[in-house]
Symmetry: C2
Subunit: 269 residues, 2 copies
């Protein structure tokens, strides 16, 4: 690993960290930290490297998400988090879009300042229990009633694991609406290029001086590399050995976990 990173790791000025599967594993009672990750975050901050958390989390406001992580021992604040809902709000304001929301109840406060009357687009997130037959039909009717349907999707995830089993993620429902309305969703969140670019801008570091560290080979690694960043895949979270044979995406290096990544990067500096 050190050999793979020698040469370029020393040019690094900022790190983008995925959260779920890198800092902690989510679960029933809030989840459990991944060994060494809380200490690794502290070491990054002490090193003077810039740091930003880049997540596709859409089941909670950033406030609640950060509160949970602080409870698990992480030094993290709302201002350090790039997440899909606030990014979507910027786009909605910029383009004068008034959303019909098909999202998790706990995400709704993120859209408090957005005009939602007489909707001219649909925003879909990981709505979980809100993915009812009635709610999907309602979102569909709003879309199909537009001359040119606008569908904004907070991520493209296929599924995720919870303690009581696998759950369909937002990407599956996005595909259902895309097909029914013959429209292509605009994706806000990883792996969208614009989303990584806004995280880099907020961190104040150009892509060639940044490293993305994540557990998702496509969303984290592939997405970051397409923006001109280096990207490491951790062998925690949703990592599977078969990822190492992915047909399209090859990380710049593999690390066992965040702690190992930080060890190597700090030694190279």
């Amino acid at each position: 690993v050190r050999a793979a990173m020698a040469g370029w790791a020393r040019a690094v000025r900022g790190l983008l960290l995925d959260v779920s599967g890198v800092l902690y594993d989510s679960g029933a009672d809030g989840g459990v930290p991944i060994a060494g990750s809380a200490e690794a975050v502290r070491r990054i901050k002490e090193s003077g490297l810039r740091l930003r958390f880049c997540t596709n989390e859409t089941q909670a406001t950033r406030e609640n998400f950060v509160k949970k992580l602080r409870g698990l021992g992480f030094d993290i604040s709302v201002a350090e988090v790039t997440a899909p809902a606030p990014a979507a709000c910027s786009i909605l304001k910029e383009r004068g879009l008034r959303p019909h929301l098909l999202v998790h109840d706990d995400l709704i406060p993120e859209f408090a300042e957005i005009d939602k009357t007489n909707p001219n687009c649909v925003v879909i997130g990981d709505a979980a229990e809100n993915f009812t037959y009635a709610n999907l039909n309602e979102a569909f009717r709003v879309l199909i009633g537009m001359e040119k349907p606008v569908l904004i999707s907070l991520g493209t995830g296929r599924y995720y694991k919870e303690t009581d089993g696998l759950k369909l993620d937002v990407g599956a429902y996005m595909k259902a609406l895309e097909y029914a309305c013959d429209v292509q969703a605009e994706v806000v969140g990883k792996p969208a290029k614009r989303f990584f670019e806004s995280a880099l801008k907020e961190m104040g570091v150009p892509p060639e001086q940044a490293i993305m560290i994540g557990d998702d080979i496509v969303s984290d690694v592939g997405g970051a590399q397409r923006c001109g960043m280096r990207a490491l895949q951790v062998r925690t979270g949703k990592y599977r050995p078969s990822d190492e044979n992915h047909p399209d995406v090859k990380p710049d290096a593999y690390v066992n976990n965040l702690a190992e990544a930080v060890d190597i990067i700090l030694q190279e500096l």
Copy 2:
């Protein structure tokens, strides 16, 4: 229209009729017959032409579907109907597949004789109110748990209209499961070639001597033409004027309704 059909209509020996949108318009209290269609069915039968009803209906057993149509004045029997569920049952038996069913409650009796223990495939139909978050996750878990997921979809419809508004059809949910499991569904029903072929076989007429009459430009007209049949589009049911500019499919002729189609065909004979 007569000019368009002159020459080939006289070689016809059998007619395949779509049902919803050709014989009747479905709706809250069972639907209403389309003017002249009941009489047209009687005239086909008197003419000696072979006749078969070819439908993608999956919200009821054929028994109940036929009972409803007889109540609307149509001369139709179960033995004359080609529908997706019985076609799926043949495939399940042929390949030793044991389905997990995600279908409408009223369709379940069609699968009475099929072994459903320890499922090794998922069959999805227009499940309507059964498309709950829990049921979709369950079907997904069955699929993703297979080494090679087998998904059989009873049709590919995008949406349909009911008296209380538009509803997402089976095709949208099929796409959600396809995406989540990275699998391609096997479609049973129109426009699948095999489905039309079984209808032709049951009617005992080769494709070049059969005409399909339907209201769906893609499923009815396009599907039948790919099997070597001629196909007419009626201007009833879900027909829209924009269908006449469809980029891929061009019917052999347009007719205002089934009655007009039968008038012309019987005159040509």
